[in-house]
Symmetry: C2
Subunit: 515 residues, 2 copies
């Protein structure tokens, strides 16, 4: 099976200059004075709950060599908090004790899983206590008839997939960070990823949750039933609310049968219109077996080649504006192959695609995927990375990249050695989800802000979402008042206040403060 992962063994900063503190980059954030600061008595309490090896405490978290650094920073080196305390509970009961104490003592908390998020949601902004779920990583139960898995929040996504493989099942989501991301984080952020087109989102695939509420109460809702309409579907509240309403400790997940056949093809296309046409034709011809339809532009190939694949030939010769990767998953190889052959034949015959290759074995499947999956990491290796994740009508998706390029080229800000470089677009056509990335010269804050403003403003003007799957976190908090209506924001605040009246759970994220 595919073994893809973000290769970030030294998780934090890869020898690059540390990014500025989030509170410096975002001076508009003010530490909420209602929150207490950690005192000796608090440490004593946590030591009474957790074993010594499950507490990291460092009074100087800003020191580059601080043991807190891996937990205060994110993988893309875009956010940095100054928490002095990271707790590693090993049970739901411990999480409950921690939150109950924090709630009673007005100590702010940031839940953290694999810390592969790119919106700053899982890192502290100030001195929030980090509750890291890495040590809650048991697979509690799996039923091979129904395909329902019940797992701890800290189980790594790829680990669960490996567990399911010999049982003939697979996970219903897949993403580049699968080797590090944890299921609790996936659910908290409603992670989408590469196969949403086939399996749908986590609101449909999560059957139940165990959640520790902000006051320490444990909400036991770990249903393994596929259908249950007995009362409000409470779990939905916690899917995608980025840890602001509680800390998810257990997940009951519906897992699909592992496909008996996986086929992957890559095609070259000369226009974005052709990409769309290829997608519509894929929905017609491949329908129930289409499991991914990804695309990227030519510049994306360039950066991957330059940063990570110098010694590998790109599988399609010549220069083409766009490439699409199609994957099918089905139960019978010869049927799927026939459908895919016919589809590719039709694409080339009609002139929609100009060239294409099909993987002949698992190694080639991996090789084709790697050109898509290494794009984010390549940009990150190339310098300070800016990453965007927007959703909108499919026909508009790439227009945003073109307009951004034209806008910043005209201002003479885009190109090698300039403020912005390597501006490129790729993503999940089938979900109407575009990722735009670019390198930023150093940590130019105004440069980041200007790019944010251009991309978010363009997206909102075109009725899109400023975050399709990455979530709000810190990165889009300042845009929420423009992205949502007053009624939406008011209802979010009503829910937050009802469930977390002291506001201790992941403050400064998702819901903008009243001005």
């Amino acid at each position: 099976m595919l073994q893809r992962r973000l290769l970030h063994s030294s998780r934090a900063v890869l020898g690059k200059t540390l990014t500025a503190l989030t509170r410096v980059k975002h001076p508009e954030f003010k530490r909420n004075p209602a929150f207490a600061k950690i005192e000796e008595k608090d440490l004593s309490f946590f030591k009474s709950v957790l074993a010594p090896q499950n507490i990291i405490h460092d009074e100087n978290p800003e020191d580059p060599s601080s043991s807190m650094m891996p937990y205060n920073t994110d993988w893309f080196n875009l956010y940095r908090g100054t928490s002095s305390l990271c707790l590693f509970p090993t049970s739901t009961e411990q999480v409950s004790q921690i939150l109950k104490y924090c709630n009673q003592n007005q100590l702010a908390v940031v839940p953290q899983g694999g810390a592969t998020g790119v919106s700053g949601g899982c890192n502290p902004v100030f001195d929030e206590i980090i509750v890291n779920t890495s040590k809650m990583n048991k697979i509690r139960h799996f039923d091979a008839v129904s395909g329902v898995a019940v797992v701890d929040c800290g189980v790594v996504l790829e680990g669960l997939d490996q567990y399911l493989e010999p049982k003939g099942y697979t996970v219903p989501l897949d993403l580049g960070a699968k080797g590090s991301c944890q299921i609790g984080g996936n659910v908290s952020t409603n992670a989408g990823g590469l196969r949403l087109i086939k399996f749908g989102n986590l609101h449909g695939n999560v059957l139940g949750l165990e959640v520790v509420l902000p006051d320490g109460t444990v909400l036991e809702n770990l249903s393994t039933l596929r259908k249950d309409n007995s009362g409000y579907d409470l779990k939905q509240l916690f899917i995608g609310s980025e840890g602001t309403l509680g800390l998810i400790t257990g997940i009951s997940l519906l897992t699909p049968r592992r496909p008996k056949a996986v086929n992957v093809a890559m095609v070259a296309l000369d226009s974005y219109e052709a990409v769309q046409e290829a997608f519509v034709m894929a929905k017609e011809d491949l329908s129930e077996i289409l499991s991914a339809f990804e695309f990227w532009d030519h510049d994306s190939v360039g950066i991957v080649k330059q940063e990570m694949m110098q010694d590998t030939n790109y599988p399609i010769e010549g220069k083409h504006a766009f490439y699409a990767l199609l994957e099918t998953q089905g139960s019978r190889q010869e049927h799927d192959q026939e459908k895919l052959d016919d589809y590719l034949g039709r694409l080339l015959e009609k002139g929609v695609a100009v060239d294409g290759v099909m993987a002949q074995d698992a190694k080639q499947v991996n090789a084709l995927w790697s050109w898509r999956e290494k794009i984010p990491e390549s940009i990150s290796k190339s310098g300070t990375a800016m990453t965007y994740d927007v959703a909108m009508e499919v026909p508009l998706l790439y227009k945003l990249v073109e307009d951004a390029k034209a806008h910043f080229t005209q201002k003479n800000l885009l190109g090698p050695g300039k403020l912005y470089s390597n501006l490129l677009g790729f993503g999940h056509v089938g979900d109407g989800n575009l990722h735009i990335m670019a390198n930023l010269d150093g940590f130019d804050l105004k440069g980041q802000d200007d790019m944010d403003e251009f991309i978010f403003d363009w997206t909102m003007r075109h009725k899109g979402s400023i975050t399709a799957e990455h979530g709000v976190g810190v990165s889009k908090i300042n845009y929420m008042t423009r992205a949502k209506t007053d009624v939406q924001l008011k209802l979010m605040k009503t829910l937050k206040k009802a469930i977390d009246p002291n506001g201790i759970m992941n403050p400064y994220k998702v819901i903008p403060e009243d001005k």
Copy 2:
């Protein structure tokens, strides 16, 4: 395409004796004295908002000939309220004005769609004002690239399906009541139905909602995006909360491609173990094209034959304990046919199934489906119907029917002419969802209560859900304190109070009163 519907042109009572008033059957319900009674000034206000033909008012709603009767009663003739007023708004703005007024004047409201629910959720218990959505039935928008439909709440499910057919799309849910049920009601009750196994539930398929909140505020959340993680997924709150948190006026729905090939087979099996084995094999062999796996017992055939299909031969000869109906939906007929042939061959060869037939054309598809779909209506025609809808582990499903039969036979209460007759089981194996129905002699309240207690208690002891898809409504409200934990109930109440502080939306339903 399949044209199946509940044939209830005269919607209410089919000439049968009217059921007792809900408040008589459930003397434990007390009208909440905080609610106002309708006065002349209220009628004046509603007349200022709605055209005269969109208001039904009758001071004597208990009179069997009352014009309010069709709205006070349910199709199964199990619930009867005494509302004197039914309003038919034609726009979201009118709904907003109505709710705002009701909230300010403490008038209780029951939202009502196609009124095909079987839990009493859409009928008043006392004198709640009925807000019926039948006259809000426009298809607002459909995008043929993405397959996203934006519709009014009152659009009939089958009507939308017919609209989508020439465009190559279909609705992602199907149920017996499709000819009458409305999409707003489907979403409010998180309707499941026959093809959930393929398309998943509405929490995954609804992309956005427009909801009038209890105070009349309109929550505009009609996103057509497949992915949007910008803040809490507010729409989820209203899916399945049975109109207790607001009134859904608009729905943005992801619709799948209409299948190019539909195949249906019916097989006979001699034990419930064989049903399960056939299901597991279907998941293996048919995987991505399996769109329904229904089963029923032999008694179900008997009642359908007796009440509705006297002149039709059952398609499989001999007497068998169980029958299963399998449907495939796919994009290529010859592939699907080959998979299904191989599957059926394997079933017979291994002795899992003892006989089977395959539909050769659309007419036969309909004919096979009708034996499954006419079960509820047949029971209803045969007398007072009791209907249950539970979910649990698949291996346990039919054990409940067997235990119920044994229990009531031993008490000499089950059989022709006795308190209970025609006790039978059928349902959606793939979803772990069993329907149990039986006839009750007259309207014996204790008889209903005793059957409720047996079935719900058995289900809860086996960690099942007392309502897989029908919802709580009135019918299971007295069991909610046993079915849910205190923490779950408390959180439900917190949400209800936060969003509907005056409690005007569909009172007496879903959330039990504090004792």
